[in-house]
């Protein structure tokens, strides 16, 4: 006979006391900001004629950044209670944020270079709310890496795991590496140059340097290398300059995109954790770990921009609530072979979504062609008019005329891309040419329909159906689908909703 066991003590969260960010942030925050300012500050103080005003201005900026870092550390505190996460912050504008813990859908751990030198990580949690205009939500910037990992588990564990791993055990449990779904392979680097990010990067840095030089009254001819480039430009004819510049741009862009790929996707891993979250970890200098609650994943988006598609590659992102759309936080797979993207999609969704799609009616092709070609023709006509009437040179309209067939090809490709399908649990819709994207949206995640018909669409007997959802961009379109085809699709995707508003023959009043 055993005496009745005493009731197990109620599980309590680590005492809900106000915590501060790690004191090292007093140093790290200014450091991170100063790294970005390093080049301009250096140029300001040392390039050109050194004078007192500039030096004082530079020193003042540094002092301000350091002081601001100290003040923000002093004014920020957070605590995690049984039910919510509270954060008080703000130097000039005090902010008090509180979010219920059961509404946390995603946890994003980001460590910039400055953070990593000191072993810190910023924690950002996302809720089901759709964030407009990049509101930053609740972000703890920053705590120690171990604390960040503990918070990640505490935030996402609430249902299953909380009781077992209470009382400090969590920090050691970080060995929990999850079941791997995908990992970076060296051969994926071949897809890096197929994105335009390198080109944009080269353009942006050239623009930035030119601007800086301009601001500081630098003459290009002061520097030896640039001077020889300059004289080369002055002496060569356009026949040499154009191809050489083009090749140089392509090479630079390819190198820049390779560097970008390395910085962002180094040691990329996608894993499924024991607490039913998907976790993406990647980055060389800035490391990033994004955890997404699987139950809240509403689908995936397979991106195949034109160049990447030509190289049979694709990129995969998650359709979910609680992730900002900026800076690729929803990325599930960086540019990789298309087959790999489809494999990961199956792993994540539990179902094949690269199914054959039903094409849209030929009227959609006419609409795509008209919409692609009409602006190109209009531009050519305007340029021709300017050439005839106002003495403009003739080559602009000749170039514009050559762009018309290109526009037509893009229009045709846009039509070829259009398609939709229903699988057991997903609505699949594909559109776009230069930025083709195939969305698989969970049918139970659809919270409404938006059906729009412009005057021309009504004449062509097509309509655009938007599946409204709380996740991702808020709505995913099935573009220019045949009227009966589209309504049947919407009706089948969410049973018992649209049917009551459909009629089968009788003409409208």
């Amino acid at each position: 006979m055993t005496p009745p066991l005493p009731a197990a003590p109620e599980y309590v969260e680590p005492a809900p006391e106000w915590g501060r960010l790690d004191p090292r942030m007093i140093v790290v925050r200014p450091l991170n900001e100063l790294v970005g300012l390093l080049l301009p500050l250096f140029a300001l103080v040392f390039v050109g004629d050194v004078n007192l005003v500039r030096t004082l201005f530079g020193a003042g900026t540094v002092a301000f950044v350091v002081l601001y870092g100290l003040l923000s550390w002093l004014t920020t505190k957070y605590r995690i209670t049984d039910t919510q996460v509270e954060l008080h912050k703000g130097v000039l504008f005090r902010q008090r944020l509180a979010i219920p813990r059961d509404r946390i859908r995603t946890v994003d751990l980001t460590a910039k270079l400055g953070h990593r030198l000191f072993g810190l990580t910023a924690v950002r949690v996302g809720t089901g709310k759709q964030e407009r205009g990049g509101g930053e939500g609740v972000a703890l910037d920053a705590v120690t890496a171990a604390e960040a990992d503990r918070l990640r588990q505490v935030f996402l564990h609430r249902r299953a795991g909380a009781p077992e791993d209470g009382a400090g055990g969590t920090a050691e449990n970080t060995a929990d590496d999850g079941a791997p779904i995908a990992a970076l392979s060296g051969s994926w680097y071949r897809y890096a140059p197929l994105s335009l990010s390198g080109l944009i990067g080269v353009g942006a840095s050239v623009g930035f340097l030119m601007n800086l030089a301009n601001e500081l009254d630098l003459e290009f001819s002061e520097f030896g290398v640039l001077r020889s480039v300059y004289t080369w430009f002055a002496e060569s004819g356009p026949g040499t300059i154009v191809p050489v510049t083009a090749v140089a741009t392509v090479v630079l862009a390819a190198l820049a995109s390779l560097l970008g790929y390395l910085l962002q996707n180094h040691r990329y891993r996608l894993t499924r954790q024991a607490d039913r979250t998907l976790r993406v970890r990647r980055g060389l200098l800035t490391t990033r770990s994004v955890s997404i609650e699987e139950d809240r994943l509403r689908g995936v988006d397979v991106h195949e921009p034109l160049l990447l598609r030509a190289g049979r590659g694709a990129r995969l992102s998650a359709v979910t609530t609680g992730l900002g759309r900026m800076s690729g936080s929803a990325l599930l797979l960086p540019p990789a072979p298309r087959a790999e993207a489809h494999r990961v999609a199956v792993e994540v969704l539990g179902e094949r979504v690269d199914v054959p799609l039903r094409p849209h009616p030929p009227r959609a092709l006419v609409r795509r062609l008209v919409r692609a070609v009409a602006p190109a023709v209009a531009v050519a006509v305007v340029l021709l008019g300017l050439a005839l009437l106002v003495d403009w040179p003739h080559w602009p309209w000749v170039v514009a005329v050559f762009l018309v067939p290109v526009a037509a090809l893009v229009g045709y490709d846009r039509y070829r891309g259009l398609g939709h399908a229903l699988t057991e649990r997903y609505l699949v819709s594909r559109s776009g040419s230069l930025d083709r994207s195939t969305v698989a949206l969970r049918r139970t995640g659809i919270v409404g329909w938006k059906i729009s018909r412009t005057l021309f669409q009504r004449r062509a007997g097509v309509l655009t159906i938007t599946a409204v959802t709380a996740a991702g961009s808020g709505g995913y379109r099935v573009l220019d689908v045949g009227e009966a085809q589209g309504l049947a699709l919407a009706d089948a995707a969410v049973p018992d909703l649209l049917a009551q508003f459909l009629e089968h023959r009788a003409p409208e009043s």
Binding site: G128, Q130, R132, T321, V447, G448, W449, K450, I451, S452, R453, T454, L455, R458, R459, A460, G461, T466, V468, T469, A470, S473, G474, G475, G482, E483, A484, Q485, L487, A488, D491, V494, D496, L497, L498, Q500, F501, L502, E503, H504, P507, E508, S509
Partner: protein, 169 residues
């Protein structure tokens, strides 16, 4: 209002209820006030300044014609398009004029139901009902309702929404 060409298969029917007839006046007033600003901005220099360029008179005339056409045609066209319907499990609306849009929100996914009345609407005894879902693209709005009808819709929807479990995401 329908110029559909495809014969077979299902077709979307119009929602049952019309909006208030006074909505025509509201749309006309709202458009008229907007055009007034555009016209005044052009008319003032033409009337006051002696050397106003000729092209300004031309644009003034053109915008006056467009304004009249818009104020006369748009509200009547809208009145024939704008319709709404609530059923025990969904809210269904149609709106627009040249470009038309049907919106459908299941009652089980409704987050909030609001009414709003601008100064013009108060003058005419009208109200706008906005039904939001969890999506940023989701709000279903019914414009130009009689204020009493709007209040009734809000009560009905609030009651049915509260009776539906779940967090509507």
């Amino acid at each position: 209002m329908s110029e559909t060409t495809s014969g077979a298969g299902p077709r979307l029917r119009a929602p049952v209820n019309l909006v208030s007839r006074r909505a025509i006046g509201h749309w006309a007033l709202r458009a008229g006030l907007g055009w007034l600003v555009v016209l005044l901005a052009q008319a003032v220099p033409v009337v006051l300044a002696a050397g106003a360029p000729t092209w300004l008179r031309v644009t003034l005339l053109v915008s006056a014609l467009v304004a009249v056409a818009h104020v006369v045609v748009m509200p009547r066209w809208r009145y024939r398009v704008h319709r709404w319907e609530t059923t025990p499990d969904a809210v269904f609306t149609r709106g627009g004029w040249v470009n038309q849009e049907w919106r459908l929100a299941p009652v089980s996914r409704i987050q909030t139901v609001d009414t709003a009345r601008g100064p013009l609407q108060q003058l005419l005894g009208l109200a706008t009902v906005t039904v939001t879902t969890a999506s940023a693209q989701g709000p279903v709005t019914i414009e130009g309702l009689d204020a009493e009808v709007a209040a009734r819709i809000v009560d009905e929807l609030t009651a049915t929404t509260q009776a539906t479990p779940g967090d509507a995401t």
